[in-house]
Subunit: 210 residues, 2 copies
DNA sequence: TTAGATCTGTAACTTTTGTTACTGTGTTTA
DNA sequence: TAAACACAGTAACAAAAGTTACAGATCTAA
């Protein structure tokens, strides 16, 4: 484990902390689609993402979803942080967008390290800051953009995190994550294809010219 | 200052920390409508809200606004926290919704106290947690509710924080904060009046039956 | 290989939201 | 007090998004 820890967090944490993480952390691999956290669930460990992408989703009363943002290499789940500390339930769902590798930290260590290591504190603060900014970005999209712009932004973001200019999703899956209907997604995607921005295939969308 | 500090933060912080706050903090009163922070501005102090309400707004490219949430007694601005630490610009605008009293903490102390006082760390973490949850609440409203439901929720929330069942705003002002148009607000308010939920007057709205 | 299931495209329609324009009424100020 | 302004109500229309329905294409499994 130590190598992947060093590669991804070596520049952030001092050696003492890295050693502690190495001792108490447990390495974990999860496959694409794996549900890592569910709404209403209590959290017992904090994940440090080593590779892969995790998508964070919100749910409404009817069970419909909305994509909030993606976590990437070097990120942690800010929601988890205070869920651990405050013993409250998760407000969000986390699902592996790609295969992912993580280091799980027992929550007891969080409080201890926060007092002991300045670099840990800064990491946690930084992490909160990033998540707040991602939430702001999400709010901007929902509140200020029309659905066609949101869709294009979604496709670009998805392409970026997966490092693939082909989106492997059905229109229905995209509709779920944008909280709209399949017909609307199909309609707008067709428009984007006519504009030459994408190419539509069964189960996949090729991004071009963006 | 010490009395208002004790009243609002005495149960949170140990005496040593309260004394330090008392020494380095500066007391400040701001009138309703005062712009406390602007987008793009750098932040040099962290506010502890002692009384009153602060509204936090986001702006789009056209300069149109959207209300994110209210800060109340005992709250602090989570955005400020990492803006201080990371020396980044503010992403939001903060305006006094009512007359407000604050204690301003120089940012140098934040890092120092984070290492020194467990209660300070917990306060900061708690604060982040609350703000994240408020952002989630905001996202829920925008993404999942129709405008009439959002409007009603807005009126209730505004009434709650101002401790007044009369909303002293024009339709235009409400439209700005919900990021819609005056005509839409007037239309929906009229519907709510017909339903007996509110009473419309010039420059004010009386909430009843809610 | 056939029957079913899944995925996409599209038409027709409804609902919601946004826009423009105009009115009357109350408020402020020159 | 008259003129200018701010506020609210409403009609008529336009645009965006959501809904229902159906058809053809492709995939999957019995």
């Amino acid at each position: 484990m130590i190598q992947e820890l060093k590669d991804n967090y070596g520049h952030l944490f001092e050696d003492d902390l890295l050693n502690e993480i190495n001792q108490v952390g447990t390495y974990k691999e999860v496959p694409e689609g794996f549900k890592m956290m569910e709404i209403g669930q209590y959290v017992r460990a904090m994940p440090l993402l080593v590779s892969g992408v995790i998508k964070i989703l919100r749910e409404d009363n009817d069970g419909d979803e909305l994509l909030l943002y993606f976590l990437e290499k070097g990120d942690t789940c800010a929601m988890t942080l205070t869920c651990c500390l405050g013993q409250t339930k998760s407000e969000i769902r986390a699902i592996a967008e790609t295969d992912a590798k993580l280091i799980m930290i027992p929550i007891e260590k969080m409080e201890e390290w926060s007092g002991k290591y300045k670099s840990w504190r800064n990491f946690v603060f930084e992490s909160y800051h990033n998540r707040l900014n991602e939430m702001l970005e999400t709010i901007d999209s929902i509140a200020f953009l029309k659905m066609d712009e949101r869709l294009l932004k979604y496709l670009k973001e998805k392409s970026r995190v997966s490092e693939d200019n082909i989106i492997h999703n059905t229109h229905q899956e995209i509709a779920y994550e944008l909280h709209t209907s399949r017909v609307v997604v199909s309609r707008l995607l067709k428009k984007l294809e006519v504009l030459g921005k994408i190419e539509l295939h069964r189960n996949s969308i090729v991004l071009k010219d963006i």
